[in-house]
């Protein structure tokens, strides 16, 4: 299966490892991964900040870069939801949704020896693409990974893009609720599918001097165990 990787700007610039592990996972599943070199961003930051024209211009570029007849896959549900909703792009998938719902895999293995983890539902996987169950299923297939039960895993962590800048204190309080629940349940890491949530949660935990990592699902799906 040919696949176009939409790596997203945040992963490109801040967490390229998530992009690389996405590529190796897709290749392991037999995909032929292309990286359209002209890609930049989907325009969501501007869209959510009230700058419709700016978002439209960058969104238009997104459409020119990606071919419509080859599936686009991104390790970032929020961006996928945005291009579907706002640009009307159809053949775009979040990583977990693509693997489970399109390729038809129940599990892709993975190994984890980093201690118990807490799951955080990415809002746009849960209520946008509706593929949160697929992501949880993949997590369930990771060998050695204990997923602790936390209440209200569906609550937003407070990232919300520009929201995290404009309403910093509220955003941090929301992160704290998530972080405290994970720690209380004995987790050493929070796992999710949204690199934005992860940057936010980890930066907040570090500010509080807490030993809590924030990992992308794809980090746990490495066959030899990652990190």
């Amino acid at each position: 299966v040919r696949v176009q990787l939409f790596v997203t700007c945040l992963v490109d610039l801040f967490t390229p490892g998530i992009g690389e592990r996405t590529v190796s996972l897709l290749e392991r599943l037999g995909c032929e991964v292309e990286f359209p070199a002209g890609q930049t961003c989907c325009g969501q930051p501007a869209h959510n900040s009230g700058a419709r024209a700016a978002a439209g211009r960058v969104g238009e570029h997104w459409r020119e870069v990606f071919a419509a007849d080859v599936p686009v896959v991104a390790p970032f549900g929020s961006c996928v939801h945005h291009v579907r909703e706002t640009l009307g792009a159809g053949n775009v998938h979040d990583l977990a949704g693509f693997i489970v719902d399109v390729l038809g895999h129940e599990t892709v293995g993975g190994r984890w020896a980093g201690g118990p983890v807490a799951w955080h539902d990415e809002c746009h996987l849960l209520r946008g693409t509706r593929t949160a169950a697929a992501a949880r299923r993949l997590l369930g297939g990771v060998e050695g990974c204990e997923v602790v039960q936390t209440e209200r895993a569906d609550l937003c962590c407070g990232f919300g893009g520009t929201f995290s800048l404009k309403k910093g204190a509220v955003s941090a309080a929301m992160a704290d609720e998530k972080i405290d629940r994970a720690l209380a349940a004995g987790a050493t890491a929070i796992v999710s599918t949204d690199p934005g949530c992860l940057l936010h949660l980890e930066a907040r935990a570090r500010r509080r001097g807490l030993e809590l990592r924030a990992l992308h699902l794809v980090d746990l799906l490495e066959p030899e165990g990652h990190l």
Partner: protein
């Protein structure tokens, strides 16, 4: 105890009730029917309001603005010494209590939560549960009681308010649903105080936002069921008062208030008028959960308030920013208002596009511009800049990757 603690207790309680109740019906089907009923009513609002004016057997008054509404109600209360009130968010919106007091008329709130809030000189912090920001102990202290026992609190309030109902000259209430076809006002409640406010005083003045009208009883009956279900998971309202004509010896008035509602019809966010004020989006909202209703500094709080207040008044462009756009509000809404989308639409409508975003768009709509700006930009991501942008105030500063994904890809696989 903090406001946030109190909210989490209440939200947990109500969420559980709601989840249980939703499981007893085909929730998605119920929502879709409720949405269709409300959307039809909003589309035909002027026609249905005209019909209601003809069918209602009390006196109807029209108020275009909050000022008109205050004047009409104060005139209807002329000569009264004291009025009892059923909880009404519209009354808060038009700031009726202040106008009544200024005219020498004492307004007494009879919903326990609203009464507490009135005694404390506060605003309601939730459209349904005005005093949800208080613990039981704080509520008791407000009434000068020592214990935090809910039963004692209620008994105390009951004795106190009973005297007021009997002595009041006028009863003022809101309206949940008005049935155009039969001219019936439906007012639902949990405490029985509205029933007494409608029935005991010689005059009943009902105030109603224009959008509360629906065509007929088929629609109204469904809304009467879904409202308590969405609000706190009860299958039916504890009390429902149906008011269509004055009792013998009493008189009855209906004040229809526009106050910006007509202007929302036909706009991008028209669907916000479908709201039945159940409060589900407030408890669902993770921002509301943290800050509580008072932080919005507006009559209506939470996601619905952020959209409705801004759309209605054209003021408070800050309100649509009280959201992380997580979408929990739209998911919880029993009439399927796309609140998260509307919050973005309002940011677009009022948000200054700004030179910064224009420059950003010019750069990021070409790969060359993207490369150039990110090369400079990521190097310039000094902690002080991240503090300035608002990131590193509450969090550690981010470190951009030394090599971007595309640089690594190109190094390994070529372009």
């Amino acid at each position: 105890v903090s406001v946030t603690d109190n909210l989490h207790v209440a939200a947990g309680h109500w969420e559980a009730g709601r989840a249980r109740a939703k499981a007893t019906v085909d929730w998605e089907d119920w929502r879709e029917r409720a949405r269709a009923i409300r959307a039809d009513a909003v589309a035909r609002m002027p026609e249905l309001i005209g019909e209601l004016e003809r069918t209602f057997r009390g006196t109807v008054h029209r108020a275009a603005t909050d000022e008109d509404a205050r004047r009409i109600v104060v005139e209807l209360c002329a000569g009264a010494r004291m009025v009892v009130k059923g909880k009404s968010m519209l009354s808060e919106e038009i700031e009726l209590n202040g106008a009544l007091s200024a005219a020498g008329i004492e307004p007494v709130e009879t919903d326990l939560g609203e009464y507490l809030v009135q005694r404390r000189g506060e605003r309601p912090s939730h459209i349904l549960a005005p005093a949800v920001h208080l613990s039981a102990r704080q509520a008791a202290q407000t009434l000068g009681l020592d214990s935090g026992d809910a039963g004692e609190l209620v008994a105390h309030a009951r004795a106190l308010l009973r005297e007021k109902f009997l002595a009041a000259d006028v009863g003022i209430t809101g309206v949940n649903i008005a049935v155009a076809k039969t001219g019936t006002l439906i007012i639902v409640e949990s405490e029985g105080n509205i029933r007494l406010s409608c029935g005991l005083p010689k005059r009943h003045v009902a105030i109603m936002g224009l959008e509360k009208v629906v065509a007929d009883w088929t629609g109204a009956a469904h809304l009467m069921q879904i409202l308590p279900l969405a609000a706190h998971g009860r299958p039916a309202p504890t009390y429902a008062s149906l008011v269509s004509a004055p009792d013998p010896g009493h008189d009855l008035h209906l004040v229809l208030v526009d106050n910006g509602r007509s202007g929302i019809r036909g706009s991008e966010v028209e669907e916000v008028l479908q709201c039945i004020r159940c409060g589900a989006c407030l408890y669902a909202c993770p921002v509301y959960r943290q800050v509580g209703g008072h932080a919005y500094e507006a009559t209506y709080s939470g996601p619905i308030g952020a959209v409705f207040e801004h759309a209605r008044t054209g003021e408070r462009p800050d309100l649509p920013w009280m959201s992380s756009l997580c979408g929990a509000c739209a998911d919880a809404c029993p009439v399927k208002i796309p609140l998260d989308r509307q919050l973005v639409q309002l940011r677009h409508a009022r948000g200054a596009e700004g030179a910064l975003w224009r420059t950003w768009a010019r750069a990021w709509s070409t790969p060359r511009g993207y490369r150039a700006t990110t090369r400079v930009g990521t190097r310039a991501m000094a902690p002080w800049l991240q503090r300035l942008l608002g990131w590193a105030g509450e969090r550690e500063a981010l470190e951009p990757a030394r090599e971007s994904f595309r640089e690594r890809w190109e190094a390994k696989r070529g372009r």
